[in-house]
Amino acid sequence: MNPAVPTWAGVGASLVLVAVAVAVAWRQQLHLAREIAVAALRAGIQLAAVGAVLLLVLRHTGLAGAAGWLVVMVLIAGRVAGRRAAGLPRALPVATAAIAAGTAATLGVLLALGVVSAQARVVIPVGGMVVSGAMQATALVLTRLREEVRTARPAIEARLALGLSSADAFAPHLRTTVRTALIPVVDATRTVGLISLPGAMTGLILAGVDPLTAIRYQIVVMYMLLAAAALAALIAARLAERALFDDAHRLRPADADG
């Protein structure tokens, strides 16, 4: 076993740190002690369960299992992002479709170009990062879009009244929204390695891989997160636009939202 990876005994010993956090919460009367303990326990059980299932998938099901795993992740991510955008018409299918399309396109390119190898061991963690990036961008774009429609309804209707199509009337708002939704991932890309050491690279270094090899992975990860976020955000915005307007280029009434 790699000496850099903690043993189960080591994991047990790290509970001391949870105890420290609980002690702080208790002494300072934060009313958080119980919540911290439960959260820590839950994290341990959740990760153990995921690890066990992953082990089964990796050992016995191969790529098909990995694909199934990704589908489940996309569905869960769609629910999370869709719930954030509650109030937008057809939020759940829009969010799920955007995350699925962003993930499929990004992962497809990585696999087609042979940047990552088509093994379950690779596809699942890489896919997970892609889904998560797509989910964040989708949730952001849809929440922003909901606000934009609420505040900019008079401007959108003013453009429609001038004979502009719904796509043209909505274009300035769509641009602002997608732009805003992409700022976090662009900033993260710009400052990567300076403000924080990113997860994939950290993990590889911890597992004994030398840093110059680890950054190759990280560079690919950053690029794929950019693509996943951009694609998912754009697709989410376009699909939401279709849901917001009817065939007669009319913005659906606010009371029909949701």
Binding site: P154, A155, E157, A158, R159, L160, A161, L162, G163, L164, S165, A248, H249, R250, P253, D255, A256
Partner: protein, 228 residues
């Protein structure tokens, strides 16, 4: 009832229902050409709903709206909106510069045409390059009016165009509208200001709780004698 002259819009038994509320109830009427028709009545009577039916920003739940005899859904909706301009209650400017705002619905508008439009609404043509931020309410509303005119509509829909403005601005916008109507533009004016309706319009439709209660030449509408 109005019977003479060319009809631009005809409504036949139009009902608009939304979320359980009856916004318009079995309304039949006509809007004559080359004059201004005022839609009057108390708040919540359905005036704005009726106005928005005319450029299909609203759809009837029942009944038919006709433009020159043809049901609106048979016509291309974007073409209808270019023929039927709308100016809302609050001035909504869409760009940073007046000239750009005038070009939103008509990208090929040249500076000379744009200057002509400003003159039609009583604004100095020299304003074209000015920023839209910082305009007074009356100036902003007249830019909105000019922007609607830029598309070359045959009908203007005016939804309480002066109600959000101070007295001086309101007068300037009203003068611009009266000049347009005097020049033969067909207009439909929603107003709860009966004195203003009388000054601008030649005909009136009175709505109350979604029902049409009176229609005819403006000087024969009793409702207008009671109001402010």
């Amino acid at each position: 009832m109005l019977t003479t002259g060319e009809t631009v819009f005809g409504l036949e038994r139009v009902t608009v229902q939304r979320g359980g509320a009856l916004l318009l109830d079995d309304v039949s009427c006509r809007i004559p050409a080359r004059s201004c028709t005022a839609l009057v009545g108390p708040s919540g009577a359905g005036k704005s709903t009726l106005l928005r039916l005319l450029n299909r920003l609203e759809e009837p739940s029942d009944g038919v709206v006709r433009l020159h005899g043809r049901p609106l859904p048979e016509l291309d909706v974007l073409a209808v909106r270019r023929r039927v301009g709308l100016v809302g209650q609050q001035p909504v400017l869409l760009t940073d510069r007046i000239l750009d705002d005038l070009r939103v619905g008509r990208p090929d508008l040249d500076a000379e045409q744009a200057a002509g439009l400003l003159e039609r609404v009583g604004l100095p043509p020299g304003m074209l390059e000015r920023a839209t931020a910082g305009l007074s309410g009356g100036e902003a509303q007249r830019v909105c009016l000019a922007r609607a005119l830029a598309v070359g509509p045959e009908v203007l829909l005016l939804d309480e165009p002066t109600s959000a403005l101070d007295a001086v601005s309101a007068k300037a916008v009203e003068t611009a509208v009266r000049d347009l109507v005097a020049a033969g533009t067909t207009a439909v004016l929603v107003s709860h200001n009966t004195a203003q309706a009388r000054r601008i319009a030649g005909h009136a439709l009175v709505l109350d709780h979604g029902r049409l209660t009176a229609a005819g030449a403006i000087d024969r509408i009793a409702y207008l004698d009671e109001g402010p």
